[in-house]
Structures are given as structure tokens and as C-alpha cells.
């Protein structure tokens, strides 16, 4: 592009986003305009509009990234979040390092998913697509409005500074590069079920016809959110140097609440597809899950709650987001209360002891979990509003209250697949479960005899994990054996065939396995961690958690954009030298600690170096048993979802005909 001046590229970017705002407005109004002016073709303009908006947002995003990559410090946002010394990867990821840029990413992803929805909808639900796109457009308008009027990433800094302030050193990490985008894919992904629900209520669209369609979107949004949350925990573990991965910080809770309801939604969709029940639950969950995504956005950016993660405080933005959220929720819940029953419930619970009932309890349990998280997060604010008192609701509270609830979830996870639909015969149920129950009891006893002084969470948790694990094993075994008898295959082959033919179900079982693996990791690292803080001189040996560390001295060196003091500790019995560092970044002047970790499947040895006292250094060491199981469990979950999503649909029909889409031909 010779002769194309980049002087005003940034202003062009701003103009592009403004244009996107206008086009989105058209997309939002398209159905109404079409009916008002009796021009049906106008309704379809929403589809082209969504493509155009995506292109415009991409251009704007590219311009911002270009500004970062070329270190254009005449752009205020770039000057605040980047630096010429920054490695290239982080110059790009700095785009979402601060409030304005991450908000832009949110809107960009929303535009992308909307366009995707348009592509899917053209084929599967062309009649209602304009309304759906309109819903999405209203949401996007809210975000674009915030970006254009209160959080402009294209704002100039004149005169430009020679050097930027640098990206927060904590964010200069590969985990950080992907954590926000994954989270946003999750948050924005849940806008799709939301749009379906709203459209269904506005256009009297029977839930049965579209519930199969949102299944994949919901799974996708859920796995993205899961990855985002896990990356956050993983990053916190490796980066922040306190040996932990989850602190029940308000911003963490803000991402956890939609995750909880999203999990309930996934299960609830399954029930609806199988038994044509729980339509109202699904509407409620679809709306509320996305509502919590918005709430999360509000909490993080408004300064209402004090949190390690919170963006720079600005009550003006907070007010805007609050009003936006109020409008969206009032409209959504108003519709829900007025028109929530788009279809008559065809089926109902025939027996309290049935899989349907367990799914209902599952929904209830996750909703209660979500309420408890919200209670703990917002209670300090409420208390202050009522009598001015201030208290802290920290990690110990959340652990005490939520872990028992999660134990109930584990119990359901074990019972659920074993319990038949409609009505369970208790004797047969016991015949299926007694072995698993016995395994659970044995596991509890073993754990107790191994360490009677442990917290009771360890005993109950181990028992439940063993129980549920056994139910999965037994269930798979029984199904494989049944099939091998019928088809004349050997049991391993039968099992593989089952896995392949019933991907949804077994994908789900794999996800449950992943959850159990994570649970084991949580029990190990949460309840059996060893920690010591000691002063060490060269040659000193520290014994901790069955491991021995010998201090070999320190080294100082300069690298990239920081100055480092590195401690060297030999993990006796291995060849490993652990090298925790204290780094000083000259630009931001906030020193950081880099932990050094030796991992294997059984435990992590986690070391941090502190300050010098006379001729000794302060060393903070942890031994975290089984913590790697948490990250491995996350991988298993991803595999499970992938497997589940790969289920080939046997029938492809438009969901607006009277034939039920997707549901037929897919059995559990």
C-alpha cells in the first residue's frame, strides 16, 4: 500500500468502529423496520450487516494490533500497556492487557460469533434468524457504545511519549496470552443460547425445535470458559508465587458463576432432548448464564469490589455497564415471566426416584452453588450498605460452604447414569451400585487410616471420588459386556465400538472422569500441602514433604527487560536444580518473583526465593501433592467435550419444520 499514510490510521480505526456501531443499529432494527415498512427483504439485511460488522471490527482490531507492534506511543492505550523492549508476542497480547483493549476483544468476539450464527441460521432457521441477529446486535451496541463513548482504545496521547509504560510483568506470560480470549469465547458463547431463548419467547418458537441446536454452542462456550478458568488457575500457580491456584477472589468468582449455571444448562439440555421436559428450566438457565457473564463484566470493570484482578477503577464506566445490564436483564426476565412457557410441558416427572429427578436436583444444586458464590461475593457490599460495617469474605468461607455442595454433585454424578429414566427399581439400582458404594467406603477407610488427622473433606472426598469412578467403570463394563454378547465381539472391541457410536454419552463420561481427576488433584494439593519458610545459607538442606532441597547459592544476571536474582536449590535425589528468581523490571519498578517448580505426577516441589538476611536467603518452599492431576484433568475434559461434539448428526433438517431436529437418532 504505497503512499498510504499511517499517520491517521488510528483515527481511521476509530471511524471504522463507529461505522460498525451504525451498521449494528441497522441489524438491531432490521426485523422491526421490515414489519413496519412491509418489506421482508429488509429483515434479511441483518445477515449482511453481521458480516460487515465483523469485517469492520477486524479492521479496527488489526489497526490496534498494528499500533502495538510498531510501538506507536501516540496511542494512549499502547503507551499505557506496552514498551519497545516487550517481546513481540506480548506486544500483540497487550491488546487485551487493559480495560479498553479487552473490552474491544469482547465486542470483536461477539461480532464473530454473531456472523457465525448468521451462517448457521441461514440454513437451519432462516425465518427467525433476523430476530436472533437483532438480539445479538442490541448486545453488541451496548458494548460498542461503551467503547466509543467511555473506553476508547484509539484515544491519542499527544505529544507522544518516547517509551511506553510497559505491560504489567505479571501478564508477560504465555498463560496470560490465552486466558482472556478463552474466557471471552466462553462469556460471549453463552450469548447464543441467550439469543435463542429471547427469540423463542418473542416469536413463539417451540423449545424442542431449537434445543438441539444450542447444544453444541453451549458445549463450546462451556469448554472455552473451562479452559479460560483453568488457564487462569494454572497461570496463577506458576506466576504468582503463592503456591495456590484459586483464591475465591471476586473476579475469579465472576467467571465461576456462569460456569456453574452453564454446567447445569448442558445437563438440562440433555434431559429436554431425551424426555421433552425442563423447558422452563432451560429458558431460565440460558438467560441467567449469560446474565452472569454480563455481571462478571460489570464486577471486574466498575471498581465495586476490591480484587487483585480488577481493572482500573472508573465509576462512570461502571454506571454505564450497570444500566446496560439492568436493561438487558429487565427485558430478558420480563419476557421470561410473561412468555416463559413457549410450549406446554409434554412430560412430567413420574417418580421421585428417577433420572429426571436427579437431573432436576442437579439443576437445583448448581443453582444453589451459584447463589452461594454470589452471596459470598456480594455480601460485604450488602452489609456495608445496610449498617456500614465492613467484613471480609475470604477463601476459608467459600471452601467451607461450597465443598460440601460439590460432594453432593459428585454423589449425583455417580448415581445419575446408573438410575433409569421414569422410574427406578430400587433393588435393581442397588444391584448396580453396591460394588461402587463398597469401593467408596473402603477408600474412605483407607484414607482415614493413612492420615486420621486430615480434614474430613479428605475422607468424604476420596470416598465419593472412588464411588463415582467405580460407577463409571461398572457402567462402561456392563454396556460393553452386553454389546459383546449381542454382537459377538470381545469386550475391549465392544467398548471401543460403544465409544465410537455413542459419542455424546461417552464424551460426557470422559468429561466426568476428567472432573474426578481434578477432584483428586484438589484433595491432594488442597488438603495435604506442606509449606516451610526458612533462611538458608549455601550448603543448607531443607527437608519438606518427603523431599530434600540443598541451597547452592545465588546468581545475578540481566535478561530481556529485567534484572534477575536467581537462587539455586538442588533437589536431592534428582538431577534438578530449582532456580527461583526475583526480577526487577526497570520500567514498571514492581519486582516480581518467579517460582521454580519440579513436577511429577505425584507432587510438585515449588520454591520461591525471598530477601537476604545477613548471609542467608529466605526460601519459601511448598510440596503440593497431586497438583498436576488438576491440569491433566482439564485436558481430559477437553478431550471429552471434543469427543462429544464429534457425534455425527444423522439427520439434517431445518429446525423450523414440525420434525424434531437433532434429537431423533441420537440416543443416550
Amino acid at each position: 500500500m504505497q503512499g498510504f499514510s499511517t499517520t491517521y490510521l488510528v483515527e481511521f480505526g476509530h471511524l471504522v468502529v463507529f461505522t460498525a456501531f451504525i451498521v449494528s443499529l441497522i441489524q438491531a432494527l432490521a426485523p422491526w423496520l421490515a414489519s413496519r415498512f412491509n418489506a421482508p427483504a429488509l429483515a434479511r439485511s441483518g445477515i449482511s450487516a453481521s458480516y460487515i460488522v465483523l469485517i469492520l471490527m477486524t479492521i479496527g482490531g488489526a489497526i490496534l494490533i498494528h499500533a502495538f507492534v510498531t510501538s506507536d506511543f501516540s496511542v494512549l492505550y499502547v503507551a499505557q500497556n506496552s514498551n519497545t523492549q516487550l517481546p513481540l508476542l506480548y506486544k500483540v497480547t497487550a491488546l487485551w492487557g487493559g480495560h479498553e483493549g479487552s473490552l474491544y476483544l469482547w465486542a470483536w468476539v461477539l461480532a464473530a460469533f454473531t456472523a457465525l450464527l448468521a451462517v448457521q441460521g441461514k440454513r437451519l432457521f432462516p425465518l427467525r434468524l433476523p430476530v436472533m441477529l437483532s438480539v445479538q446486535a442490541w448486545l453488541l451496541l451496548g458494548f460498542l457504545g461503551l467503547i466509543l463513548f467511555l473506553s476508547n482504545p484509539f484515544e491519542r496521547l499527544l505529544p507522544a511519549v518516547a517509551e511506553g509504560q510497559d505491560l504489567n510483568p505479571l501478564l508477560q506470560d504465555p498463560g496470560m496470552a490465552f486466558h482472556p480470549p478463552m474466557l471471552y469465547f466462553g462469556y460471549v458463547g453463552f450469548s447464543i443460547p441467550f439469543a435463542f431463548a429471547i427469540t423463542a419467547m418473542l416469536t413463539r418458537w417451540e423449545t424442542t425445535l431449537w434445543i438441539g441446536l444450542i447444544r453444541r454452542w453451549t458445549l463450546f462456550a462451556w469448554i472455552m470458559l473451562t479452559i479460560g478458568i483453568m488457564l487462569g488457575g494454572w497461570w496463577a500457580y506458576y506466576e504468582l508465587g503463592w503456591g495456590g491456584y484459586w483464591a475465591w477472589d471476586p473476579v475469579e468468582n465472576a467467571s465461576f458463576m456462569p460456569w456453574l449455571l452453564g454446567t447445569a444448562l448442558i445437563h438440562s439440555i440433555t434431559v429436554q432432548e431425551n424426555r421433552h421436559m425442563l423447558q422452563t428450566w432451560n429458558m431460565f438457565l440460558a438467560i441467567t448464564t449469560f446474565a452472569l457473564s454480563l455481571l462478571g463484566t460489570f464486577l471486574v470493570r466498575s471498581g465495586v469490589l476490591s480484587s487483585v484482578h480488577a481493572f482500573a477503577v472508573d465509576p462512570g464506566r461502571g454506571l454505564y455497564i450497570l444500566i446496560f445490564m439492568v436493561v438487558v436483564l429487565v427485558v430478558a426476565f420480563g419476557l421470561f415471566l410473561a412468555k416463559g412457557r413457549v410450549d406446554t410441558e409434554r412430560e412430567s416427572i413420574s417418580s421421585l426416584m428417577s433420572r429426571e429427578m436427579l437431573f432436576v436436583l442437579n439443576n437445583v444444586l448448581f443453582t444453589v452453588l451459584c447463589i452461594c458464590v454470589m452471596l459470598g461475593t456480594l455480601y460485604p457490599l450488602a452489609l456495608e450498605a445496610i449498617n456500614g460495617a465492613k467484613i471480609t469474605v475470604g477463601a476459608p468461607y467459600f471452601n467451607s460452604v461450597l465443598v460440601p455442595l460439590f460432594f453432593l454433585v459428585l454423589l449425583l454424578m455417580g448415581f445419575g447414569p446408573a438410575t433409569p429414566w421414569r422410574k427406578a427399581n430400587l433393588k435393581r439400582l442397588w444391584a448396580r451400585l453396591w460394588l461402587a458404594a463398597a469401593t467408596g467406603v473402603v477408600a474412605t477407610i483407607v484414607m482415614f487410616s493413612w492420615d486420621p488427622s486430615a480434614h474430613w473433606f479428605a475422607f468424604v472426598g476420596t470416598g465419593l471420588v472412588a464411588f463415582t469412578l467405580m460407577t463409571i467403570v461398572i457402567d462402561s463394563w456392563r454396556s460393553a459386556r452386553r454389546r459383546s454378547k449381542q454382537q459377538g465381539e470381545s469386550i475391549p472391541v465392544a467398548l471401543l465400538r460403544l465409544l465410537g457410536r455413542n459419542r455424546r454419552y461417552y464424551g460426557g463420561m470422559i468429561v466426568h472422569l476428567g472432573i474426578l481427576v481434578i477432584a483428586i488433584g484438589l484433595i491432594g494439593s488442597g488438603l495435604f500441602r506442606s509449606e516451610q519458610v526458612v533462611l538458608m545459607a549455601k550448603g543448607d538442606v531443607l527437608e519438606i514433604g518427603g523431599e530434600r532441597l540443598r541451597f547452592e547459592g545465588v546468581r545475578e544476571f540481566r535478561k530481556d527487560n529485567y534484572l534477575a536474582l536467581q537462587g539455586r536449590l538442588h533437589l536431592l535425589g534428582t538431577d534438578t536444580i530449582l532456580t527461583p528468581e526475583r526480577r526487577k523490571y526497570p520500567v514498571q519498578e514492581a519486582p516480581t518473583t518467579e517460582s521454580s517448580i519440579h513436577e511429577n505426577w505425584a507432587r510438585d516441589v515449588y520454591v520461591i526465593i525471598g530477601e537476604k538476611f545477613k548471609d542467608k536467603y529466605s526460601v519459601h518452599a511448598y510440596v503440593n501433592p497431586l497438583v498436576q492431576w488438576i491440569w491433566r484433568g482439564g485436558l481430559i475434559i477437553i478431550i471429552g467435550i471434543g469427543w462429544s461434539l464429534s457425534q455425527r448428526l444423522r439427520q439434517r433438517r431445518t429446525s423450523e419444520s414440525s420434525v424434531v431436529a437433532g434429537g431423533a437418532g441420537e440416543t443416550t
Partner: protein, 172 residues
């Protein structure tokens, strides 16, 4: 969907919105002090010149205790207010200070350059006196009435209005 759900969802939403709206107006970092209404603790130390001093009611007059440091930008903001206040209320109240976690040299230089409104400043290098007073940031100001009770604690830079209001509280 029974009508009864209305009674749950609507109040929940309303409470949530009102709460969050309130949250926008409150400062999440401000902590109310439990010392208000309690007698000022008996604390001893040395001032910037090395003389032993007792922190509490000074000269049997209602007392204002200001916590400051030379490294604190906001303290510079309120310093003018204190200088004026010292002159205006010189007969009615005593004005003393705690110099919080500051090098002696820096503290003295700061007072020399900007003026010293205080009768004396207790030198709290370690910050222990601050902890005894529940200090969590600078500047903070305590207002003690004639009975030795802490009537008010302001955890923000003073203004003329706030100072006047505080003085009014401790001088009946």
C-alpha cells in the same frame, strides 16, 4: 411457570441492581474504624528531636492526631489545611502528629520546607504505633475529645470543612 416465581425473581433483581448501584458510590478500600467511641490508647514514643512524648490527650485540651509521612503525596495536599487550622484553633485544641514509617532526615526536611503546624510529631519508624491505631494508609486524622475518647477518624486528606467539622465535634 407459576406466578409465584415472580415474587422471587423480581425482588432478587431489584435488590441486586440497587446493591450494585450503591456499590458504585462506595469506596471498597475504606475501612470504618472500630476505635471510634473508645478511649485513645496510651502510647509513648520519641518525637523528631528525640524527646519522649505521650500520645493521647495533650495539655488537657481536645486533641487532633494527624498521621503523615514525607513520602505521601496526599499529605502534602492537606498540609495547607493543617497550617491554617493550627493558627485558627491554637487555643481550643492541641495538634500533634505521628510521623509514619519515615526517615528522620526526610521528615525534618519536609517540615522545614513546608512548615510545621504540630506541637510535635512522634517518630514511628517501624509503623508499630500506626498498627496500634489501626492505621492502614496515610494520611489519617484522629479527633479526641476532652474525655480522651476518639470521636472521629478521617482516613482521607483533610479539607478546611472536614477539619472544622472535626473540631466542632470535640469542642462542645
Amino acid at each position: 411457570m407459576t406466578r409465584s416465581i415472580w415474587w422471587v425473581i423480581i425482588p432478587v433483581l431489584v435488590i441486586l441492581f440497587v446493591l450494585l448501584g450503591y456499590g458504585l458510590t462506595s469506596d471498597p478500600r475504606h475501612i470504618p474504624s472500630p476505635l471510634i467511641g473508645k478511649p485513645f490508647p496510651q502510647l509513648q514514643g520519641v518525637d523528631l528531636n528525640g524527646q519522649p512524648v505521650n500520645l493521647g490527650l495533650v495539655d488537657d485540651k481536645p486533641t487532633i492526631v494527624n498521621v503523615w509521612a514525607s513520602w505521601c503525596a496526599a499529605c502534602r495536599q492537606e498540609h495547607e489545611v493543617l497550617l491554617r487550622g493550627a493558627r485558627r484553633y491554637t487555643d481550643t485544641v492541641s495538634l500533634v502528629a505521628v510521623n509514619y514509617k519515615d526517615e528522620l532526615v526526610n521528615a525534618k526536611r519536609w517540615l522545614r520546607r513546608l512548615g510545621d503546624p504540630y506541637q510535635w510529631s512522634l517518630h514511628d519508624l517501624s509503623g508499630r504505633i500506626g498498627i496500634e491505631l489501626g492505621v492502614y494508609g496515610v494520611p489519617e486524622t484522629f479527633f479526641i475529645n476532652r474525655d480522651g475518647i476518639i470521636v472521629e477518624k478521617i482516613s482521607a486528606p483533610l479539607t478546611d470543612e472536614k477539619l472544622a467539622a472535626g473540631v466542632a465535634l470535640i469542642t462542645p
